[in-house]
């Protein structure tokens, strides 16, 4: 498995969040999640300008065997989406924590909602326990 970057926070539902220098939050799904889904064939993106709530579904990743909702780790407004995934959804399989980002949120309640997220070690423990 790929090393989990130390600056990420995770949801139990396998989304990652990275707080950028400008205060925005970039969201994707974990390398573990892409491995479970298998080859991705389609990503349904939110629209720029959408209001999202922490814990609500706002994107869908679809592989040949499953379509899964992607939940937003934080509340706020979507400021960017990774349109390149439309043609190359497999980018998530190849680079889940980098080029495979899905959308960016300008958060409205970051300080509080961040507390709910897991740090890399806690997330690693979670997937360890799910595997057993």
């Amino acid at each position: 498995m790929n090393e989990i970057p130390g600056d990420l926070k995770f949801m139990k539902s396998h989304e990652w969040a990275r707080v950028e220098d400008n205060g925005s939050v970039t969201v994707g799904i974990s390398d573990h999640a892409q491995g479970l889904l298998g080859d991705l064939v389609y990503v349904e993106l939110p629209s720029v300008g959408d209001e999202v709530q922490a814990g609500n579904a706002c994107a869908v990743v679809e592989s040949v065997k499953a379509a899964s909702d992607v939940y937003s780790p934080v509340s706020g407004k979507v400021t960017a989406v990774n349109s390149a995934l439309a043609d190359k959804p497999e980018t998530i399989n190849e680079d889940a924590y980098g080029e495979g980002w899905i959308f960016v949120v300008k958060p409205t309640n970051l300080a509080e909602e961040q507390e709910e997220l897991l740090d890399p070690d806690a997330y690693a423990e979670l997937i360890e326990s799910e595997e057993h």
């Binding site: 389609y42 349904e44 629209s47 679809e62 592989s63 065997k65 499953a66 379509a67 909702d69």
Partner: protein
């Protein structure tokens, strides 16, 4: 593929393993007040002999009348080989088998079906079929709303759409918060029997997600599909075509609807009933639904699609694709929770289309058109009988009688003729109008027998 249900000892063993004494205990969480212990209306079981006898008696009541009724289901010649092939053990299942890829023959047949449907409709993609024509319209409307994402959740439906389709649509979509706005067709003049584009251009319906366009419509009439498609697209809405697939062999396919002046070309979603190909009338079903769309909307399409691919050795194979949004995987978030595909009927339709070929399908369509015109001429030669609508028609036409059509239908039934559909049952203003259809199955003698009987009934 054999289907072996659990034996009593299997059931006992499974219950023991999970520590439950009776199957009923598994439903304990449902409050007793919600359970129906017995269905009073359902009689006790009958033996096979009794059922056979009952069904034979019921079937004999139908008799073999001379049928001129269409109204959504059409009597066409079905070559004997069609159902002989369909009845083969390899095909004889209502469903796509589980472990679908183990049944390559079934998947190839569905793939061929999809290919035929995309060619007839001129659309990019067809699914493997839906339940029937009416539910295919409901699925098309739900699909349009998904395509529009946060759309206005309003869909425009002319009253020239089949009344049963409109009722089914209403039942399925209104509780999902989608408003169905019905509007009237034009009754008189050149555009009588269809939607008048000039009238439509003057209306303000507010924002809407899609316009439903029937071709042909319930009256057998050809709508001005180009103008209607352009109008909807100019309003930023999608278009949903309801088609009779047989008619598409002689009509412009929905994939090319529109004048070409509008930015967006062709219908966006196409639905309809596939019954005219190889499926007998059978007192109203089972039939099967068609659903096709533009490539850009394929992810919102319900049901399944079979794709052609190659295996590791480079050999051709067929696989289910785009099933990730079906309910066995997606549960409540599936694109549809009512869609089923009608494997056996699709098998019949595909074999029928393959046997007829493009030319045979076109010949059946043209023969039906000609027969209905001959019938129209014979009927309209009877004093007091005239064609109701001026717009061109395919193989079905409304004629006005000098008295309520319902009475005439009952009278001719006594002479073993199904005269048609009395439009007054669904359109109160058309009480005297009779919708008739003469497919390629009717001879000149049949047409004359009908005309003579009608003339007698009107005396």
């Amino acid at each position: 593929m054999p289907f072996i249900p659990h034996s009593e000892s299997d059931v006992r063993e499974m219950l023991k393993t999970i520590g439950v004494s009776r199957i009923e205990d598994l439903f304990d969480e449902i409050p007793a007040s919600l359970k129906i212990e017995q269905l009073k209306q359902v009689p006790a079981g009958l033996s096979e002999m009794d059922v056979t006898r009952l069904m034979k008696e019921r079937a004999a009541q139908d008799g073999t009348p001379l049928n001129f009724c269409g109204a959504g289901a059409y009597e066409h010649h079905i070559p004997a080989a069609v159902w002989a092939i369909v009845s083969r053990g390899e095909f004889y299942s209502a469903y796509t088998p589980y472990q679908a890829e183990a049944s390559q023959g079934t998947l190839q047949l569905i793939y061929e079906y999809q290919t035929m449907m995309t060619r007839l409709t001129g659309m990019d993609v067809s699914n493997a079929s839906l339940y029937d024509g009416a539910t295919s319209l409901a699925e098309a409307v739900l699909m349009a709303e998904r395509c529009a994402k946060k759309g206005p959740r309003r869909v425009l439906v002319p009253k020239s759409v089949h009344p049963a389709y409109r009722k089914t649509l209403h039942t399925i979509v209104t509780l999902q918060g989608i408003e169905i706005v019905e509007f009237d067709f034009c009754h008189e003049g050149e555009t009588g029997g269809g939607v008048s584009p000039a009238w439509l251009a003057k209306q303000d319906f507010g924002a809407f997600t899609a316009l439903v366009i029937p071709q042909t419509n319930f009256f057998g009439v050809l709508e001005d599909v180009d103008a209607l498609t352009d109008w909807a697209h100019e309003k930023g809405a999608l278009t949903i075509g309801i088609v009779n697939p047989l008619a598409l062999s002689v009509l412009k396919p929905p994939g090319r609807w529109g004048s070409g002046k509008s930015k967006s070309h062709g219908a966006d979603i196409v639905c309809g009933d596939g019954q005219p190909f190889g499926v007998p009338l059978s007192s109203g079903g089972p039939y099967f639904g068609i659903l096709a769309c533009k490539q850009e909307f394929v992810r919102q399409m319900p049901g399944r699609i079979v794709g052609r691919t190659t295996d590791l050795d480079g050999k051709q194979g067929f696989a289910l694709t785009l099933q990730a949004r079906e309910q066995h995987i997606r549960r409540a978030k599936a694109t549809s929770n009512i869609c089923t595909n009608q494997g056996l009927l699709v098998t019949a339709a595909t074999i029928a289309m393959a046997m007829l070929g493009p030319n045979g399908v076109e010949r059946a369509a043209k023969a039906s058109m000609h027969n209905t015109r001959k019938l129209r001429d014979l009927l309209c030669a009877i004093p007091g009988v005239k064609q109701v609508f001026a717009r061109p028609f395919f193989h079905e036409v409304a004629v006005e009688l000098p008295r309520p059509a319902h009475d005439v239908v009952e009278r001719l039934a006594k002479e073993k003729i199904v005269a048609g559909f009395a439009l007054g049952e669904e359109y109160s203003e058309l009480e005297n109008a009779l919708l008739v259809c003469a497919t390629e199955t009717k001879t000149d003698a049949d047409l004359r027998r009908f005309a003579t009987a009608l003339a007698g009934a009107l005396k």
